[in-house]
Symmetry: C2
Amino acid sequence: MNQEQPGPARRGHGNRKPAATIYDIARHLGLSPSTVSRALNKPGRVNAKTEQRIREAAAALNYRTNPMARALPTGRTNTLGLILTDITNPVYFTLVRGAERVAAAAGYTLVIAESQESGELEAESAERLLQSVDGLVLVASRLDDASIGALAERKPLVLINRVVDGVPGVVPDVVPGIRDALDHLAVLGHTSLAYLSGPSVSWMSRVRWETLLDEAPRRGMTIVEIGPGAPTLDGGQEGFRRVRASGVSAVVAYNDLMAIGLLRACRCAGVDVPSQLSIVGFDDIFGSDFTSPPITTIRTPLDLAGEEAVHQIVAALSEGDVPEPRRVSAQFVRRESTAAPGRPLVV
Amino acid sequence: MNQEQPGPARRGHGNRKPAATIYDIARHLGLSPSTVSRALNKPGRVNAKTEQRIREAAAALNYRTNPMARALPTGRTNTLGLILTDITNPVYFTLVRGAERVAAAAGYTLVIAESQESGELEAESAERLLQSVDGLVLVASRLDDASIGALAERKPLVLINRVVDGVPGVVPDVVPGIRDALDHLAVLGHTSLAYLSGPSVSWMSRVRWETLLDEAPRRGMTIVEIGPGAPTLDGGQEGFRRVRASGVSAVVAYNDLMAIGLLRACRCAGVDVPSQLSIVGFDDIFGSDFTSPPITTIRTPLDLAGEEAVHQIVAALSEGDVPEPRRVSAQFVRRESTAAPGRPLVV
DNA sequence: GCCGTTTTGCCAACCGGTTGCCATTCCGGG
DNA sequence: CCCGGAATGGCAACCGGTTGGCAAAACGGC
């Protein structure tokens, strides 16, 4: 008679049919919902024969467990959050990919959010995500140490490219890469360098600068910091005038994006790279090997960092043991944007 | 006495303090949870004075509404899903960014999943996401029409770069861009073209090919299809031998990635671009303007497509009216990988 | 046939919100 | 002073799972 299926009020919009629940299966089979739940999740808890019937009914009804309904009593969402400063920054491609793979393998869904380089937006995203997530990965966080500590107290949290006392983090060791890069520049005959620095709130930019500041003088080279600037093509381009004015023969940029931006500005201004200015980038992003000339860079293996961070969270979530963080370190990649200094830049 | 807070079992791992609930606020104020709920969500439903007290208590306890608990009775998660073939493909950067911005503006969280060019994985992701999401955006879906139709019946769904009858979709109109590109090549004097095609399951690749097949002869040019190939640098590189063997003077690649791959292969083989071979790409991805030479390409405004798709879903979710899809069309971008044909490619 | 143990399934409470409906209070008007 | 209606807050059911505890059933040994 009720060919129109008057039934209970439809959920959602339009007239879509509601998803099957364990109650549907139970009713169908004359069992209790709790039995269905156990059959599906506690292997061996119910009779094998019954379990088989339940599984078949579930398949027939195309049943999927409702993640929210499960999360409510268990407190586990099987979801991990990843917050980064800028989705469109190529540095993070491989990081996201690595994190995604490991998360998926461990049965977690990864939710990606973007803070657009703003600490405020980041705090907001973190706050929102924290509710619906089992753990959080913060990449190059712009938050202050205290805020990060507070977040870490609420849910398992791992940092990437940032170190905060008492909070687990994975950060590639830049020292080997920087040493090799400086050796390379020294051998070529460079004696005056500049560091084109990134955002002032970037912990990573400071680390790179401090390392350069430490290592350059040991090789008899002078070094100055130029910046801070936005970690983008534009940021690099904007640094050009100051680089030129500084009279240095080689520049290490905070990242490849800035290096490429600087490279462009040089080309526009008729400054030849590498004969008039050597440029070294950071990260080895997609695209840095098909600029002209290809960018010499210091590769930070962020795919590994992404994998490792998620590994740590998953481990913290399952047992609580310390899984001995794998060490990842940066690696110098020689390409063609560096050469022996020729004519001085300022004529 | 209970200075150790024996209380109910802690949720989650470690000894993190549980989040405040509306019950905490209610108890604190001697009110009912339902009053708290209404005070926070139904403006005007409770006495302004009471509402004020509740808001203050909520702030003091740092209360955040639990999204899962809310989603359960309402069926609304305030989450949108976005499934694409390959996160690391630069084409999608701006698309993701655009979608994210619109989603955030409308109060939705965007969950991004990757299908790795596999229809099976895509189906699985879609199935999993569908439970916890209010709507879904499928980018360049590898699923067959029937599966897509089935998904669309369960939740609001919008396609990007794919057309399926009865399912809303946004796909940039490539015709204007292709016409301009062909005009450009014709004026330069090219008479024989090749299309380096993408994956055979890519609807978009077929559309581009059909359009070329239609338009090239009208301009007195011959055209052949070479492929299919992977839509990656490698895919482009692998097409090189066949392009060379075909003897054409200009190639239109399925996308910029393949164009760049082909460009590299040319350089390796000592074939000069553009004097010996003209190359046109698609999409205008990050990086296509700093290759050497910069790639002439047909830009598909995927940021707009991403925005538009999310707009449509949000509209479907809020009212159900048809928001008159905004038309987005591809645009020819002339750079330096195209020139008049010089010496024939095969000597 | 009896008893103890194990297996198997169900009851009911709970997670943290939302919401229909009802009871009470408050208000002004007649 | 009485009445009707609006304003306000509470009760209880519900969303769809999970889980501790228990009772019934099955089983096995003597």
